[in-house]
């Protein structure tokens, strides 16, 4: 019973982690940007969906759509405000652009977080779930929403896989992550690739944020932990490796769920952090890094 409980809960949490981390790793793989406003974008999308439903009384589907649009807008705003000006800057030395982008996205994340706190308070918000009720599978009573979350996450990840491997645009994105100069030589505008990637990212982060809002609820306090967990999952799996991130998301998700159920919820994040430290010492490129 407990075993199945851990298996089911862990699967849903991990799927959510995987979806959140996929966008993060995609951006890094293609443009080398570590987007530290990631958590803020996820929370922003969730809060938009929540606000649409509770303040303007729209249904859960419309609310989710508004949340996804918010995710898009925030992702593009991040790119145009905090990333592109630095990438194109002539004043900042090339070797220092990395830390500037880190600082700028971090600040941008704080700005989003504080704007949310100002407009909608710091209280936790739960997005109206699309699927309601509970169901009993293998003797475990689970909210239907949990299965819904896992399914949507995997559908989104599957679509991403299809996009990257089977469409012309996606293949160009893939190629850009391997060799940006080569793609430019083939006559593909690199800046339009970046726009595509940020659009995909906005979609993924938005969906992940809304699902998180339905599943666990979000508040402006979850911004930091969300960014940190995406960052650690992505490094654990190997920066830039999407399949690595997916596996790492499941490792972290099950470690956390297992610890919470078997030992104590207070120790929830500790084993995953320990694992991360061990991996950093023994295999700094991550479990499936390309380096």
């Amino acid at each position: 019973m407990l075993f199945w409980q851990i298996l089911i809960d862990g699967f849903a949490i991990s799927a959510l982690y995987a979806l959140g981390a996929t966008g993060f790793t995609l951006i890094f793989g293609v443009s080398g940007v570590l987007n530290l406003s990631h958590g803020a974008i996820m929370v922003g999308a969730a809060v938009a969906a929540w606000a649409a439903a509770s303040e303007f009384g729209v249904g859960p589907y419309t609310g989710a759509l508004i949340g996804i649009i918010a995710g898009f807008i925030l992702a593009f705003a991040t790119y145009f405000i905090a990333v592109r000006p630095i990438q194109r800057s002539k004043v900042i030395a090339e070797s220092e652009k990395e830390i500037f982008i880190l600082t700028a996205t971090l600040l941008w994340g704080i700005i989003i977080q504080e704007a949310i706190a100002y407009a909608f308070t710091n209280n936790a918000k739960t997005v109206l779930p699309i699927v309601e009720g509970v169901t009993t599978v293998l003797g475990v009573r689970t909210p239907r929403n949990e299965y819904f979350t896992a399914v949507i996450c995997w559908v989104a990840i599957g679509l991403l896989w299809f996009l990257v491997n089977r469409t012309r645009r996606g293949k160009a994105v893939m190629a850009a992550s391997m060799n940006p100069r080569g793609v430019t030589l083939l006559g593909i505008e690199l800046s339009s690739i970046y726009l595509t990637v940020w659009a995909i990212y906005g979609l993924l982060a938005g969906v992940a944020g809304i699902l998180l809002g339905m599943f666990l609820g979000v508040s402006s306090y979850s911004v930091g932990p969300l960014t940190a967990s995406a960052f650690s999952i992505v490094v654990l799996g190997g920066l830039g490796s999407v399949s690595g991130s997916l596996i790492a998301a499941y490792v972290v998700g099950y470690l956390e769920t297992g610890t919470a159920y078997l030992i104590s919820p207070a120790y929830r994040t500790i084993p995953a952090l320990l694992l991360l430290v061990v991996v950093m010492y023994l295999r700094p490129q991550g479990l499936f890094g390309r380096r």
Binding site: L34, I81, A82, P85, I86, S89, V91, I92, S95, E96, E98, I99, F100, L102, T103, A104, L106, L107, W108, I110, I111, E114, A115, A117, Y118, G224, A228, F231, S232, V235, L239, A266, Y267, T269, I270, L273, L274, L276, V277, M280, Y281, P284, Q285
Partner: protein
């Protein structure tokens, strides 16, 4: 020209120090208390700048070193209060932070860039978890009350913080302008070439970690005995580390002094804007973002740029 610039900066600096010295006669204890915290934060930011600006190490966890120093001093005092002088506790805190600095330096010698950044972030999260889990020893989420304080007089505390900031600032600045600072800068920019020129990169980087940790830990320990309490939200939280990083980048990287200016500015602005409530952090972040985007060399860069033009 550089002489003129440096001399102008020197005179501005001297004037600022004199103003800071005579300030206690004119302002209230409340303002002094605020500046006391700002001065300790300035030391945090300057120590961070030595590691990042010069050694090129992206350290997301300045609060790991600060927290180790602060909590070591606080726990020692809380458990052996009358028997152990607070100065011994503070020394022990600084020492513990140095040990922490060496532990943090080990991965830095193996991994770099974002990987090292994450390692330091994890170090902070582990420390935070440890403090919460070992609540019996550390006071957990509520915080640790220490029985002793350095002084209850706002002016005395102010003088100690100011003196400490000036001395550590002078040492860190002197170090950054010395041959060691140059070697650190070289190894931060191109590790292999610096090594090929015959410099022991590992030794210098380790030294940078030790120095940075020493001052972070010392400042943390002193601040515990100023506040009379140690808590996760003031010493360890990732948000505190973010403030320190923003302060250093805002004031101007690789200047040491800029970091102190940035820290005092951030704390002062936060206080001035406090009546605006939630908007205060928002406005400070927007200012910081604008400075970083348009004046990448920070406040000190603006002053210098103005002198050049």
């Amino acid at each position: 020209m550089p002489n003129f610039v440096s001399s102008r900066l020197f005179w501005i600096g001297l004037a600022t120090v004199i103003v800071a010295l005579v300030l206690p006669t004119y302002v209230s204890g409340y303002v002094l208390g605020l500046l006391t915290v700002a001065y300790y934060t300035a030391v945090f930011a300057m120590s961070w700048d030595l590691l990042f600006g010069f050694a090129g190490e992206v350290n997301f966890g300045p609060t790991f070193l600060i927290g180790v120093g602060a909590y070591t001093a606080g726990i020692l005092d809380a458990h052996f209060s009358p028997g152990l002088s607070i100065w011994l506790c503070i020394a022990a805190g600084a020492l513990a932070a140095v040990v922490g600095g060496v532990v943090l330096a080990l991965p830095a010698l193996r991994v770099s860039g974002p990987y090292f950044g994450l390692t330091t972030l994890v170090a902070v999260l582990m420390l935070q978890n440890f403090i919460v889990v070992a609540a019996g020893l550390t006071g957990g989420e509520i915080g640790l009350a220490v029985p002793d304080v350095i002084s209850i007089d706002a002016k005395t505390n102010y003088w100690i913080a100011l003196g400490f900031m000036l001395v550590s600032g002078a040492i860190l600045f002197g170090l950054s302008r010395s041959a060691i600072g140059l070697i650190l800068q070289a190894s931060g920019q191109d590790k292999i070439q610096a090594g090929a020129l015959g410099f022991n990169v590992t030794k210098h980087k380790l030294a940078a970690f030790v120095v940075s940790a020493f001052f972070s830990g010392l400042a943390g320990a002193l601040m515990v005995f100023y506040m009379g309490t140690a808590s996760v939200s003031t010493f360890v939280d990732v948000g505190v580390g973010v403030q320190i990083i923003i302060a250093a980048v805002l004031g101007g990287r690789r200047t040491v002094i800029g970091a102190a200016i940035g820290a005092i500015f951030l704390i002062g602005m936060g206080e001035l804007l406090r009546p605006l409530g939630e908007l205060a952090t928002l406005i400070v972040s927007v200012i910081a973002l604008v400075v970083i985007l348009f004046f990448p060399d920070g406040f000190l860069g603006m002053i210098r740029g103005g002198a050049k033009a």
